[in-house]
Symmetry: D3
Subunit: 248 residues, 6 copies
């Protein structure tokens, strides 16, 4: 009897905008405008930080600690296994979010499943546990975010019991369809219904703060400039109106 | 898409036997005969250790960290709240198992809900978080097991997202219908299909070990006696056949 | 350059009311009416749970990890020591709050200092570390709250660096003058300016919930009764108007 | 190739004195006179706090995490098992110290082994893990100190690999023959060669501090009295010379 | 009285094979064929991940927390010091495994000892603590695996008490002579008697999974292919029989 | 009423010398010559390890957990905010040390404040929490040391309550004016009055150990050479007297 939540679909245009906003800016938007403080997955970072930012709706998988007699069901070719169907069912563009109970001593996914996910057009894979087959993951070109490198397969400690349900990942509550955004600095979850607002607000904030940063670099003092008071905001508006000249 | 598991119903006779077996003995039965090592809920103990042992099928509730904008849904009179229907729906004789994510800084249940559960004939309430209203709980006469005393209500940190699903409690995987047994020393989970075997095996083990304990108290050395080798076992069998005389 | 905060003085009448409100009720008041979630000191419990509830303004002491060459200054008779003056200066009725950095492996206070505090009329002593001389503390009759029993003196690990400043205790921010309330279930901090409101609201809540509890004990179902909807609230109001008869 | 250390034998007279000194006093002696800060086993407390203080030389056992294929060797009747010989070999008067790697999710000893140890005249059993068969332990009358109640047998997680070697228990290094002293407040380890000095110094400290405590209870201020300056010390000396009259 | 275990010597040929098997594959072999789940040292990673895989028999060193009065014995030129003899005695080709009690705040080895180990032909050094002199270690060209960078010398917190005994490292039990294998992803321990089987099984698994990976990259779905069912296995066998053509 | 400590001013010459000494050497100097064991900030590392070593006096900031109603005061343009004045007041050459309570889930500083600090001539910024705006920090060219990358702003969890007071950072006590030195391996704190001695001793130690390292690289055994006994020391002295020829 899970709570049923209808998730707003988020447009490609909004996702594209979110791919231009940094994760710190997203967290600022979510606390300042929406009162959400707990949106950043603790210590969940990309294995290859050189990859582009990603954004997509969450497709969730939930694990609990292994019960030893259910180990056979964890093998990918057991008829009760939930992973193989999930890998074939997850919609392209999704971010697979695996609630690994924060265990950094298992590799929740390895090279072969990740290869299949990549081929299927998945945007990224995210877990609060470890990942395995790190070399292969480095060659994959798909963002894979985790808290650790961990050789052992997941079924040494965990078993998969549910998909497409509310989960916890990195201490953050995530519902299916929440928008997951990641960059080289972190991974955040945005409730789907706030995605458009965060995208707009984030782009505006980044633009304004970029201007602030250049003024600071020139030697201006912080009071009145950061955060920008009325006069600084007017200077910024003028600079924008002037076509954003190099000199500021 | 949770895994569906059919749970074997456990008879009252088996539950009654389990109420006579100590939790250490149950853990020994589960590892030695069934290979299950992870069955004892870490640090989950009764608030009133003087109450009798309890045993009943698990009725599970699952929490994740609170998302601040969903706080209103946590109030018991909100139409989306899952707790009030669960409290009225849980079958008498069940053990309510609440996966509190191991947070010992919230009181997952308080005096009023527990009073309703008691009136409804619930066997016990068990969580890996804190409980609140400790004085009222002490007066209740129903086993309530937790990891801590914690005044704050659960919704300061957590939200309830699902019921009657697989959960983790005290590090142990628990499916709905698993048999939960508790005493003043701990709380354990038994897969329903093993309950009868554990009940029989546990009673036999306790009886034999009681005899061993008295022999040890008399000064017999451990080798051959504990665990009982062939000769000791014959002496025990004879003692049983003799009607278990006081002198052993 | 600490932030300066003026603290509202809290009257004896309000403190007396707070001594009649349970810590769970105080936490409910603080989140529901004032949006404060983080007010309950994690795992800080009285050594003797049979003592009465206490309430008083915080007098704070702050420790940091010991620097070995400053060990001599930690001895109570060293001229630079801050504890001896604090013990003689703390106003009667205060609650001494010691930020022990959450270390449960040192006894932050022992029998002699606590005896002096008691003689000086201190309301209680509270720390998120251990306490030592547990037997003497048991004989003292003054509430002493901590997270552990710990024989070693504080200066094996910590040094006292400041008094009457903002501290952290049990994960909760505490300013000098905040009202600290404790019972057998926990210890909470109330901003001084909210103390009167919490006292009034808490007494009202406890009274109403006591009536609810008796109705639940009689077998009434939860929906509409807890939390009380319009009809239940009218029944409660009538019961109060009728002079709170035994039958409800 | 363990380091070989000769351990000084400690006389019964010294042990008897140590049984009259509290664990906080012992820690003060060890840091103030011998520079030892890390002597108190974290959170290792007696299951029955009403038992007398104990003191005796450590007989150590060392565990490491279980390797699953060596589980059979952990059964007490396996020829490679180290526990059964240790239980029969440990000298009467010893304190059995079991390095459980700080795991509070296993019961390192249960009722039957503890019964044999008691019959064999062991002074106490101490571990930084859990204990099991808590009810039987309560009936035993022998001090048993641990960090938790834990039903599962040790071999669900650990295996015994060595005896009579240096171990860690509760974060404290312990060599065979170190003197272990415990009371209702904690458990401490004293290097054997310091035991006599600690016993003498501790008795003197307790006596002096008892006098200080009574003066504080009478209302004397702390400065000059605690710790006692020259004048206070002379008053104490006079009081002792006067035969310790009730009035002080 | 440590348990005595005879260790099978592992041939150079087997070690060479193990140097071609990835650590994830080794963990899969150990759980699937031998039931061993706890073989991967948590968070123990090479300082220079570009170095080749290493494999060799463990030579173990065991630390416990420092007792302050034994600090002089920790200096490398003290006659009781165990490190200097160990560094000169460890056989070439060994992997030095240092049980640092999981302390990531000390550097268990520094540049000079590691230089000597390298000159002596040691295969690698592995600890579950920190390492120090990170720049020098980077220049060394010998695999050095740890959980952290930590400037302070080991004797600020630990003392060495034993060598060539069973230890715990990164949560894994390790006996002298166990085969330690490491790559850029992790460090694992293989019981010596299983080394040959793991080497053979691992090479075969890697070869088969490489073929699977290429099929997945071509767009084949997972069911039936990973893990390979009968038909897929026949295709693989044919591919091998055909001389492993580029096209698959 | 904080303890008042006069801090010795450390000359530029000493700071320059400290910038040539590695952090491991500094920790060795502090324990061996001054008995200070707890000087290395746990897990506090530079975001860009390629930057030069830094050294400067600490300017401290202290945080405690957020009280939700004080969130507005955390905004940089609130009149009660302490950060903006601190950023403008911190003397050039200082190291800003932020006691983030060890929280690795908030970014204690971001790109704009750090830009202003850089422009103002700050030597480095150090915290035991996370940092945010990692890309901008990478472009800054100023050492920024932390325990994690963390997108969320500090005020999601913490509030700034004091500056220029004793703090804890990475488990180490730090007073204003203590000298903070950092390199790619760690960050350490030196009491100001010991800075000159550590600088001299450290340079000498590094020089001697460099010579030892080259001898070890040539194949000399450790005993007598490391640490250098009389004969080795004479050889070193001769080598220095000979003008440090390449051949040693």
């Amino acid at each position: 009897m899970p709570q049923t939540r209808k998730t707003k679909r988020v447009s490609k245009a909004v996702l594209n905008k979110l791919r231009q906003v940094s994760t710190p800016t997203i967290t600022t938007q979510l606390i300042s405008n929406h009162g959400l403080k707990n949106v950043s997955l603790r210590n969940v970072l990309p294995i290859d930080p050189s990859l582009r930012r990603f954004a997509g709706p969450a497709f969730t998988l939930r694990y609990v600690p292994l019960r030893e007699d259910l180990l056979p069901e964890q093998y990918l070719d057991h008829r009760a296994n939930l992973m193989t169907p999930a890998v074939e069912a997850i919609p392209p563009g999704s971010v697979m979010v695996l609630d690994a109970n924060g265990r950094n001593d298992v590799g929740i996914l390895g090279g072969n499943i990740l290869m299949r996910l990549k081929v299927r057009g998945i945007e990224a894979a995210v877990t609060d546990g470890g990942m395995r087959d790190i070399t292969e993951i480095g060659d994959l070109g798909m963002p894979v975010c985790c808290t650790a490198f961990a050789p052992p397969p997941s079924f040494t400690k965990l078993m998969l019991v549910d998909t497409e349900c509310a989960v916890t990942c990195g201490g953050v509550p995530i519902f299916p369809g929440d928008i997951i955004v990641g960059d080289d600095e972190g991974t955040v979850a945005i409730p789907a219904e706030l995605a458009a607002s965060v995208a707009e607000g984030g782009l505006a904030q980044d633009h304004l703060e970029g201007w602030v940063n250049r003024r600071l670099a020139q030697g201006d003092a912080m009071p009145g400039l950061y955060p920008p008071a009325k006069k600084a905001r007017e200077a910024y508006d003028k600079w924008v109106a002037d076509g954003e000249p190099d000199e500021i």
